[in-house]
Symmetry: C2
Subunit: 469 residues, 2 copies
């Protein structure tokens, strides 16, 4: 069994590396056309894809929406390639008068090589075989080998076959199955970077495998996030309560951006409003048996330590739950309270004086998002410097679930939100994870990539002698 | 002793964190003025600084030149701050018509926090207390704590005091001494990233300390490089030989960009020319006793395995040495031959057919540089795809020693040249190592950083709705 898995990893990585040679040499505009073809193929096969994904127990509307999002991700990267800014072309002409004389130096980003992608459980399309990691890596010029998530093997196989039809070489997208495939994939000498969306434990295990390589490679992992929400006294209790209940229970709480920790004023009726709104929600089937067990275990632990503020209806054995704690529970920085509980559970933290919040927020681990609810900006001013060091995305009077795929999006943050806080895993900038700069010194024009030539035949943005051209 | 070291680390990091609060809030243009003040202070105190650095045994002219380079690095980052492109400001206006409706999202880079810098042995100014890591981190808005190199403690103290005079708060530049300071510095909860230039063993030790943190932080290390040079048959033997001998022995070979592996045509008189040129060189005093012992040990190991092609004069017990091997020595990829030997030693690898080179080059570990010597571009065309995956800087008919500090420079490469191949440790882009993006969603204009406002009061480059504004 392990031998077979090893062989499947070996052949997928070798096929990817072989196919990658032509792909990295393909002009970006042609790669863009291929990505648009992938988007078209996904939409064309939507009627086959979404029913396959019923193995995730996610509803049709959600699955259809996710296929559209997945196609849109490929289209965004086609735009990114046509724009050309992603290569960050910089040209410094020589300065023979400088001491010492300065040579001609030109730099741009190049694709790394084979990228290993670990698919997530909770987005069978958008963070899986044809997800953002795959789309951004292919855009960068890197072939990909995906380790399928055990929760949706059929969807994974079908997606791979749909995407491959639109690729110039099917080897550009490898797919391997099984937990045991992780180690040989991460340790394969031809693999140059790893992308991962999953649990803290899973991320730590991958980092350990990478550290065991003779040549450790970059690891871009998104490992966990409690997504704190700060409700200030001027916020509207009814709006906060209804928004929170909806965000908490969306997709049975199975989002990395689920709001897990909500700071509520002790006065003003916020708790009652939240209790009522959450009481009107219901649970639902979770993605896999393992995730379901994890939720029951973790929410059970919270129930032992905290009082229950509210619970929704039990559906399929799953009950949305909100627990309550005082700000003093964070006096010694209880880490269990600040750990992600994957599913529709959250902790409400009651506070009396907003001035006490920064000290507690500073003690929280990194998150993908942090949210503020308030009637106006002045009340929140002192929180901004704290929140901007706590999370990669700050949200005003909204909710963290729902991540727009756009040029400005950032999906990352301090550990454990991300293993590489200089990078994002969603949006246009996520292509940067799969690239490495190369500088050319006194290099003949005939051998330069077109992006670095003085005549700029591709019309990419260039910085020339320190100025944006 | 350890207790005292721990205390000095503790107090330096705490002072840095405290001083960093105001520094990160200081407008970039004001930070630029401070950096220029540091450059002025370094030049003003050059007459005190270079004599202090005689403890490195480097000559006056080199030390004076290095102080000028160090000041120039601060000036480059002042330019980077005034340009504003480093924050990568991106604005996506809302699109209520999109499905789902897209919120307003704006992203830019922010400073990480306290940066720990491990100074290098071989550049007592340019890669030390006031080196590129410190200049780029301060530019980004991060306070710095430097672990001084044991090879130049007096220079380190004096440099720190000169720089501090020009800083608004002396706490922005902490300095700690002693090997034992490394662990508490890397593990301090307030430290947010580590910069390092040094040995493979040192870099691995730091990575291990980072992995032991509850929250692993980014590690930007430059660990070693053999800097292969490929001399093609059309190159001029006399020019190659004289250039090589000079680059090999510059600064007694104590550069991370020293040419350690030179592929020479078996025909054409290249070897004799190299042997003659190297025979005319001489050794010299090395930076520290430890480095000297390391060179004697490593060059001794090479002498046991390979034939000696040429040697220079012994000065201060140090002899430049060039060893010879055939291409077949790399048939099984002997890793010892591809490991950096810090000092004036190199291996010449004799080849008969240039077509045999790509297979061997593919087997080499990552390097900071790779160099080609040839009469014209055509002969080298097939090497470019191989070299661009082997090294971060490709040099044409030149030598790798000497790294220009400019907008386009890239100093990095695949492991072990760099622990983070998406980043550079020299040049304008090196500021990116100390930043993390933050996205603001539906955020009130009053609370946005000025770089993200629609009226763009600082005039920074913005990308708005996907287009460069």
């Amino acid at each position: 069994m392990t031998g077979q898995v090893n062989e499947s990893v070996q052949s997928a990585v070798e096929a990817a590396a072989a196919a990658g040679e032509a792909w990295r040499a393909t002009p970006p505009a042609e790669r863009a056309t291929v990505l648009e073809g992938v988007a078209d193929a996904l939409l064309k096969h939507a009627e086959d894809l979404w029913p396959a994904a019923e193995e995730t127990r996610l509803p049709e509307a959600r699955l259809r929406g996710e296929i559209a999002r997945t196609a849109a991700q490929f289209r965004l990267f086609a735009e990114v390639l046509r724009d050309g800014g992603w290569v960050e072309a910089v040209i410094d002409h020589p300065d023979p008068g400088a001491t010492p004389p300065r040579p001609d130096v030109r730099r741009m980003n190049h694709p790394l090589g084979v990228v290993a992608v670990f698919a997530a459980s909770n987005f069978p399309f958008a963070f899986s075989v044809a997800g953002g990691d795959t789309a951004s890596a292919l855009a960068a010029g890197c072939p990909v080998v995906v380790k399928a998530h055990e929760g949706h093997p059929r969807t994974s196989d079908l997606t791979a076959s749909v995407v491959r039809q639109a690729l110039p070489d099917p080897g550009l997208l490898g797919l391997v199955h099984g937990f045991e495939a992780g180690e040989p994939l991460v340790k394969h000498p031809l693999v140059t970077a790893v992308g991962f969306t999953g649990s803290l434990a899973g991320g730590k295990a991958i980092q350990k495998l990478i550290d065991e390589r003779p040549d450790p490679i970059p690891f871009y992992g998104e490992l966990g996030s409690v997504n704190p929400v700060v409700v200030l006294p001027s916020a509207d209790p009814a709006e906060v309560a209804s928004g929170f209940a909806a965000s908490l229970t969306l997709g049975v709480g199975q989002f990395c951006t689920n709001p897990g920790l909500v700071f509520l004023p002790a006065e003003g009726g916020f708790e009652q409003a939240v209790a009522e709104a959450v009481g009107a929600t219901g649970g639902g089937p979770m993605l896999t048996g393992k995730i379901r067990e994890g939720y029951l275990r973790q929410s059970g632990l919270l129930a032992e330590r905290l009082t229950v503020l509210a619970g929704g209806s039990t559906v399929d054995g799953i009950t949305p739950q909100v627990f309550a704690a005082g700000l003093d529970a964070f006096a010694d920085g209880l880490p269990e309270l600040a750990e992600e509980c994957f599913g529709p559970a959250a902790i409400v933290v009651r506070y009396r004086d907003p001035a006490d919040l920064p000290a507690v927020l500073r003690r929280l681990p990194g998150s993908l998002t942090a949210t503020v609810h308030a009637a106006g900006p002045e009340e929140a001013r002192d929180l901004v410097p704290v929140l901007s060091r706590l999370a990669g995305r700050l949200i005003w009077n909204g909710w963290p679930t729902g991540v727009a795929v756009s040029w400005a999006m950032h999906h990352g943050g301090p550990w454990p939100a991300s293993t590489a806080p200089a990078h994002t895993s969603v949006g246009a900038a996520s292509i940067g994870r799969w690239t490495t700069p190369v500088a050319y010194q006194d290099w003949p024009a005939d051998l330069l990539p077109p992006e670095l030539r003085d005549d700029n035949p591709l019309g990419v943005p260039q910085r020339v002698d320190g100025r944006r051209a």
